[in-house]
Amino acid sequence: MELLDRYLQAVKKHLPWERQDDILAELRANLEAQLEDKESELGRPLTQNEAEDWLRQIGAPIQVAARYQPQQYLIGPSLYPVFWFVLRTAVLWVMIVYSIAVAVQIAVHTPNWSAVFEGVLRVPEVLLTTAAVVTLIFAVIEFLAARYPGRWPLPLLPSTDWTPSALPPMEVKTGYGKKPRSYAHAVAEVIFGFLALLWLLLVPEHPYLLLGPGAYYLPASPFQLAPVLITFYWWVVALNVMQVGWRAVDLIRGSWRGSRRAQSIATSVLGLIPLVELLTARDHVFVLLKHPALDQAQYGATLISTNQGIAWGVTVVMVISVLSLLWEVGQMGVEAYRKHAAGMK
């Protein structure tokens, strides 16, 4: 039967090469015996359509051949939990090392925005390379373990001789929404928030609250603050007012136990505005000379290095603030997903 020959030829192409003749001979014998049975039942040869239906019922050649292949995973279920743990750990540590290395390199060699931008742009490449290397290592381990089961047992699997008493102690829950704040804690937050706000408002009139005895040398200093720093100061005051107000309202409404994730994220976002204002200040001038005509020659270089130092300080704070905000948003996303998943169950 030509159709059966064509079918077996198609199966053969997908069989393991070292056993394909043997498998094919057996499959042919079985199918020919089945065909003979069918034809003797009908008392005639199968028509083209009947033969096609029969072979279609047996299955597509590639699927039939696949059943003869050994089951092979890229990373199997036994190894997968270890792989996932190692992958997350590796990605985290590579990101930490990479961030420190890039920050040091930029600070020492090329302190400018394009270097920062370039460093950020390379993050996906670094992460993908790390993931690819870890995956490749685990795929090789899996392959060797499947190929040589006796001689190459799966390493890295959790040991079977563990003891429950060796497990780490209970972790203290301190995250948002995990351990409710006490009333005393909430009251203290409001009181100290008001005190901090009061202190902040008094600093312009009484600089010794910030500078201590150094404040008495301010009138003699040749420097003064640029208007952008005054605006920045009022932004900081406004953010503090908002935070203290929020906490006071929470206390009055009795909702101090609830999660403050949304408040914290809103504050973080608003906190970026004054930082952006500082970073976009014209020529990064934060400190001015009181009498430029008189003091430029003597203090000009100090003024430039002071302004550059402040600009870099603000840049670092900005980067940390953005990363912190992303972390908080990520955590909120994870919590929302967990709640959603728990709700689905």
Partner: protein, 109 residues
Amino acid sequence: MTIAENIFENLRLELRRGCLTLAVLAQLRQEHYGYTLRKALAERGLEIDESTLYPLLRRLETQGLLTSEWREEEKRNKRFYRLSGDGEGIFAQLLAEWRAINASIDNIL
């Protein structure tokens, strides 16, 4: 196929997989080649696709539970399988396990 049907089908296949092995081992206490084994199982109410049964025979032989030999019958070379010595021991253990599970399920129900 709906999600529920898909879940059922996956669970059904999981449930069937072990039982098929047990049935094949049981049937191969007598010698068979692939097609007659399939017919014998079908006559006792257990239909198995060709693409499932024939590779399963190969796997069980590789594991040492079956022995096989090529032999001519009705002018055609066929590969005959039967339970090996090791296979008989494993089959007895699997059968006991299967009976215990069945009894437990009956008790639960």
